[in-house]
Symmetry: C2
Subunit: 186 residues, 2 copies
DNA sequence: AAAAAATGAATGAACGTTCATTTTTGAAAA
DNA sequence: TTTTCAAAAATGAACGTTCATTCATTTTTT
């Protein structure tokens, strides 16, 4: 078995279960079924480990979501596809969501690197600009559009994971992405 | 000067400046201008201190936002007032926002208490239900409505604090709350 | 001068990291 | 195929540091 992957998976599991605050190297090692020292064969240290995991998730996310983008299709269809894929990504592996949320606001990294936090939004950005050019998306400032798309997505997933709503219910995702579309379309 | 308040303010400042991860009792004491031991005269320990601060901010927030609510006025006016007040609250003291965000996803508290996280949403909830009853707000599930209101607010403040947009610019808040209203109104 | 508040050095536990030692691997030799 | 053995991988006890908390002592208040 790939130990590097096992270690990363342990961090993911532990951060979700107990939070960043209670995360420590011994627990990570135990959960991964390796010795504490082994972690240092694959990562420079705790900080490096955390950052590597973050990078991995961001890449997976972008890869997944961008698969829903097809130049040939209209903006609206692309929008629906991408929203749905983004939601599916987090519902399939809720630990990813919890980790990203905690990481974003618990900077291990230095302040300069914090701009990278917006990397997650790049697919949305791309689609947004295209829609504005075609005149199907309202001509309001980018930041507001971004807030109207990313914000609700974030909150609905939080609510789902807290069992305040159920996105797996038939039609739930449609209702949601249509509501968001209504917010941003002309 | 009230030492209890000074200690709480220190935590707020430090969490925003360096994050939860680097927070420690000696720094808190130094920043507050008291001895480390003094903190324990006012709080049971670190966890108690953090939780007390969270409770304080949530109360202040709700008090502020609910001042924008007037039973005599139409739902739309109340909505605009409350959104604006909520934004003002965080812009006036950005440390509050940063703290709440970090706290919400870095549970010191045990999982059971996590439902309290939704306490912050109570004013929105109240307004939402009233609007639905009057037929001025769309009849979609509460969770989706909540996501369409709370989510964008959260994100726009994040973007503002990251200097990706400027909510203090003339008309910016209007543009924003009107966009959100468009998303939720019939 | 008694009571209350504050201090900060001391304590011990927790934790990240290191490294001397052990185990595993796999290619070459028998 | 079996044996050998050097290199690579893995181990986990030990180390040094950090940090929350305590409490004997000092300072302030009444």
């Amino acid at each position: 078995m790939d130990k590097k992957q096992a270690i990363l998976k342990s961090v993911l599991k532990l951060v979700n279960r107990e939070g960043f605050y209670h995360l420590n190297m011994k627990k990570i090692a135990q959960e991964a079924g390796v010795a504490a020292g082994t972690i240092y064969l694959y990562f420079k240290g705790k900080e490096d480990l955390i950052n590597a995991l973050y990078g991995m998730i961001v890449n997976e996310f972008n890869q997944n979501v961008l698969e829903g983008y097809d130049d040939g299709k209209p903006v609206k269809a692309n929008f629906f596809n991408m929203i749905d894929l983004a939601i599916d990504f987090y519902l399939a592996e809720p630990d990813n969501f919890s980790f990203i949320e905690q990481y974003t606001y618990a900077p291990f990294l230095f302040k300069e690197n914090q701009d990278e936090n917006f990397t997650l939004l790049l697919p949305i950005y791309k689609m947004m600009r295209e829609g504005k050019k075609q005149g199907v998306i309202r001509n309001i400032p980018d930041a507001i559009l971004l807030a109207l798309i990313h914000g609700p997505m974030n909150t609905i997933i939080k609510l789902h994971l807290a069992h305040k709503t159920d996105l797996n219910k038939k039609g739930a995702k449609q209702k949601f992405h249509e509501a968001v579309w209504q917010a941003i379309s002309v």
